[in-house]
Symmetry: none
Subunit: 200 residues, 4 copies
Amino acid sequence: MTIQEPVTARPAGRPRSEKAERAIIEATLDLVGDGMGVAELSIEAIASRAGVGKTTIYRRWSNKEELVADALATLKAPLPPLGGESVRDDLITLLRAMREDKGRSRTRCVMNVMMSDADRYPALMERFQKVAIEPRKEAMREVLRRGIRTGELRADLEVEMGLAILSGTMIWYTKWAPPGDLPADLPERIVDHVLPGFAA
Amino acid sequence: MTIQEPVTARPAGRPRSEKAERAIIEATLDLVGDGMGVAELSIEAIASRAGVGKTTIYRRWSNKEELVADALATLKAPLPPLGGESVRDDLITLLRAMREDKGRSRTRCVMNVMMSDADRYPALMERFQKVAIEPRKEAMREVLRRGIRTGELRADLEVEMGLAILSGTMIWYTKWAPPGDLPADLPERIVDHVLPGFAA
Amino acid sequence: MTIQEPVTARPAGRPRSEKAERAIIEATLDLVGDGMGVAELSIEAIASRAGVGKTTIYRRWSNKEELVADALATLKAPLPPLGGESVRDDLITLLRAMREDKGRSRTRCVMNVMMSDADRYPALMERFQKVAIEPRKEAMREVLRRGIRTGELRADLEVEMGLAILSGTMIWYTKWAPPGDLPADLPERIVDHVLPGFAA
Amino acid sequence: MTIQEPVTARPAGRPRSEKAERAIIEATLDLVGDGMGVAELSIEAIASRAGVGKTTIYRRWSNKEELVADALATLKAPLPPLGGESVRDDLITLLRAMREDKGRSRTRCVMNVMMSDADRYPALMERFQKVAIEPRKEAMREVLRRGIRTGELRADLEVEMGLAILSGTMIWYTKWAPPGDLPADLPERIVDHVLPGFAA
DNA sequence: ACATAATCGAGACGGTACGTCGAGTCTTCTG
DNA sequence: CAGAAGACTCGACGTACCGTCTCGATTATGT
């Protein structure tokens, strides 16, 4: 009888500290949340805020990009609960969620980076898309599909295009809105402008 | 008889070299066009590429942000000529122009910076808005207003919202389009999806 | 009748590996012999060359100094056999031995450290003196005392001073000799210069 | 008529600051004088104590060795004045000077490094020899030559060997003297032991 | 045979210093 | 005076070792 090798053999030596790993990611998110872009982030600052040696960071991530990617990846998108009563209400809820995020200091990271560092760090974005953006997009797609099924929306509506119109408009406003702050009823106004074109 | 003082008295000493100024701005745009963000830009690199001392840069601009702002400001927005035949055609032309820019190596700067460094360098953006963004927005507003006048669009259409929907959707696609490249007829498809909701 | 307790009761647990200890000392001497000073020696390099964990080193020695002291202490001074025919011959033999050592890769350690790290690591030296230097000094003292007894040297010669003059001169030459290499007959020349002043 | 090129054309740009250079060397000597060996010296500590950026050090010296060499080279050997009355008195004065140096905090550097780092940093020593050691050796050679001329010493005395015997003995005592401190009359005792062998 | 206990190699930990690079400022000479 | 050249201080970079600390595995002794 032979001893069964474990599937994932534990490597020799002291295992890496999960505590340190968490502290590093926390520190990174703190700094990103405080408005720092990927370029302004300094590994030294992260290490110092996390109470960790630089080596401990470099042992895990070979560059800033990968660290930030992993850090943001831990930010699961906490999707707002949808009533499911009407397409209009659910879309408003989703659009409003895009905005609310900017208020919360931690989830603000998502918007900060998505807006600013998107195409400069493509590898980062690819990872980030999967865990943070795609779920939100999928939620909105699902609402649209349901609207088509229930007959609230016209049958030949292209779901992807609908998604682009609604989200794109919302983002346009949050970034390049003309003057002053955004109106509180922005989500309602967007939906009410767009939805008639989608209705059956 | 008195000698007429010039209206703007020329200061004593050697005048600043316009050649150097142009070279600096050219070098800056080259680097930005090559994909560098504002943060990655190094004054030293600009000086070296422009064949100029760092002093000559700092004498004119007190920091990177102002230099980039001025550099981008020289990029006049070359608006596409609009036929004015139908609202649909003109909107398609305008949307297509947003995309075409990405192809040309120099005007690509506009999109690069607008997309990436928007909220990290607000002063930059403010300046940039005036010379590069606003003319394009105004052109589209004018098309929409004309559509309302001619009765192609419904009278109570909010012009600003229409602008946000069309531009926002286009930008959304250029940044977060699902897979692969963008379809060639994207502007047409956006306009055709959106316009019915705006029609009289 | 009771079982006799061993004088030094063996502590429980796995005993320290003598093999590891030897390997560590060998590695240390190798590195010192290759010209490394005490300061340049890295514990990590010693551990790696000895195929041993750093812990195994620090368990035995609390710092580099003690390790090097113990390592050098294992180097017994292999004194050259003395003919005993004449004081002159024996002194030449002893002086020559100081030089020969520099050729042998292992015993070169002795000179290396004695010359370079003497007063920076006083504790090291104290130990080292006892096992490596003192025997050589004693041998020379013995030769001088014998010379006094046999009448070859004058009766009021201070042995310690004689030792200092002979050894000091030899070392002076090996370290600060004017140009080029040392002459092969250096020991003879030193002795012949010094001895007349010591003769009866 | 042609303009005469200066022999050593001043290079373009801001000249290196002599003030910084002096501060660096002062700081280095301070640290060496405080008992640090070449290996323990840290460039960062030197820069900090000199109030200077690390770059400013690395611009001038490519490694520690060269810096220390230059620093020590500035320490001119302040030779003691010699009476010239008798060979014996002058030799005693010279030997005593070797010892006195150990007391003065700045000139202690000389002995510190000469004793400890001599053969580990050969390039350093070579430079150092020229400015610090050689003048002292030459002074002693001169005394010996004068003794030969005046007949105090025998005509066939090898000056170089005499130098080695006297200096070597003195150094031997200061480094490996048997127990306790050195006797106050050590120079006298050495000279009195050695000189008879040199006398005519 | 089996628990107890100190050791082993391996390697991660928080640090310090390394030598390099670029930032933005300053100082020199030349045009 | 503006120009280029290049020095200046400062601070972050990524690497190498420091001496300490876990780990699982090994190797003895004491029941």
